[in-house]
């Protein structure tokens, strides 16, 4: 299953299903994932959703020349580390965290403004469970001027 999360300039784009779970997801994005952006300045957007093992989500965002960015992808317990790829408009994979020990962050600076696609995937864990595991996954962005 794949979900698309639009990311815009100013405002959060969050998906919600179960309100109680969602409240936890909000707290996770705000309290845990945001810390991964330090020392970058949080861009003000909280993108988070409840995902299940094996599920994918993607997000499109415009990044501007003259800025440095940090992308942070976090998964709450009991999920394993989240896989993510960054893809350009020509479908070239620019970054794949599976080649970097499933790193949670990636720092980059675009030479020119670009719309990029970020694809997240929750890997299926080896943990014995009756049902596939679900939890909050957040993707957040920080920036600083050059």
């Amino acid at each position: 299953m794949k979900r698309t999360v639009p990311a815009l300039l100013f405002i959060a784009a969050l998906f919600g299903f179960n309100p109680d779970i969602h409240a936890q997801c909000k707290g996770f994005a705000k309290k845990i994932c945001k810390q991964e952006l330090t020392p970058y300045i949080h861009d003000g957007n909280y993108n988070a959703d409840i995902l299940t093992e094996g599920e994918e989500a993607d997000l499109y965002k415009t990044f501007y020349s003259g800025m440095h960015y940090r992308l942070a992808v976090c998964g709450a317990e009991p999920l394993s580390k989240i896989e993510f790829q960054v893809i350009d408009a020509y479908k070239n994979v620019l970054y794949d965290n599976r080649n970097h020990d499933l790193a949670m962050t990636w720092d980059f600076q675009p030479e020119s403004s670009q719309q990029l696609r970020i694809v997240l995937k929750v890997p299926v864990s080896n943990k014995q469970a009756e049902y596939p595991l679900s939890s909050c996954v957040a993707i957040m962005f920080g920036f600083k001027d050059k």
Binding site: P6, L9, F10, I11, A12, D88, Q114
Partner: protein, 243 residues
């Protein structure tokens, strides 16, 4: 932030006047103007206009109440804002949280389409402020004009989001979204006159700084006529939104 880094200056005359808040009675106009007032709020906070920020926060609270977004902007939020008016970072944080609360509340209650309309209102206001701030300055080599042209890239994201919300899970068409898609046609036409070409990206990793450079080229072609057309389209759209 993009506006400020592109060298723009604060101009309060550009904001949607606070007295307009009582005009917004339909779901669509309330949602659009919640987005508009929040962008205005971010704009004045960015330039440290503390008292105006507080007034705009009050206006967003009024609209949020009208839309039954309970608790998104409560008394505690207003007190926190007042207490931190001189600390821009905290103020921006409070604004972000307010949107987090509003947006998630709407989506928890199956009002995703309304959340999308709020986003469009905020985006259009950002475009309006930016196009107005260019003023009579030449467009060639103008960083702010380039930033505005680059919003063509974000427009495709806006279109995709509206299409995703056009029909609800029961298969019913959302008339507010349909009318908003139509409202944006003039802007779509105006952006067709602006060319933004991006090349494929090559990644250059720096193992010392751990910062990767995305090497690519973007060619932006904006004629003075195309820019004027875009500014007029944004102006007309925003005038319709603020009523």
């Amino acid at each position: 932030m993009l506006i400020k880094s592109a060298g723009a200056e604060y101009n309060e005359q550009l904001l949607n006047p606070l007295k307009n808040v009582d005009k917004y009675t339909t779901n669509k106009s309330m949602a659009l103007n919640l987005g508009i007032y929040t962008t205005d709020l971010s704009f004045c906070s960015l330039f440290d206009q503390t008292q105006t920020s507080l007034s705009y926060m009050e206006a967003t609270r009024k609209l949020a109440e009208g839309m039954d977004i309970r608790d998104a902007i409560d008394e505690e939020t207003m007190i926190r804002l007042e207490d931190n008016l001189n600390n821009r970072d905290v103020v921006m944080d409070i604004i972000s949280e307010t949107f987090l609360n509003s947006s998630s509340y709407l989506k928890e209650n199956e009002r995703q389409a309304v959340a999308a309309i709020v986003l469009v209102g905020g985006w259009i206001e950002g475009l309006y402020l930016a196009t107005q701030l260019v003023g009579e300055k030449p467009i060639e080599g103008n960083k702010l004009v380039d930033r505005i042209a680059e919003q063509k890239l974000s427009f495709s994201i806006v279109d995709r989001m509206l299409e995703d919300n056009r029909v609800n899970e029961k298969g019913e068409e959302n008339l507010d979204i349909v009318s908003l898609i139509n409202d944006l046609q003039g802007l779509r036409n105006a952006y067709n006159g602006i060319i933004v070409q991006t090349s494929a990206v090559k990644v250059e990793a720096d193992n010392t700084t751990n910062v990767s450079t995305l090497k690519s080229q973007t060619k932006i072609t904006v004629t003075p006529e195309a820019f004027t057309g875009l500014r007029d389209a944004v102006n007309s759209l925003r005038s319709n939104f603020i009523l």
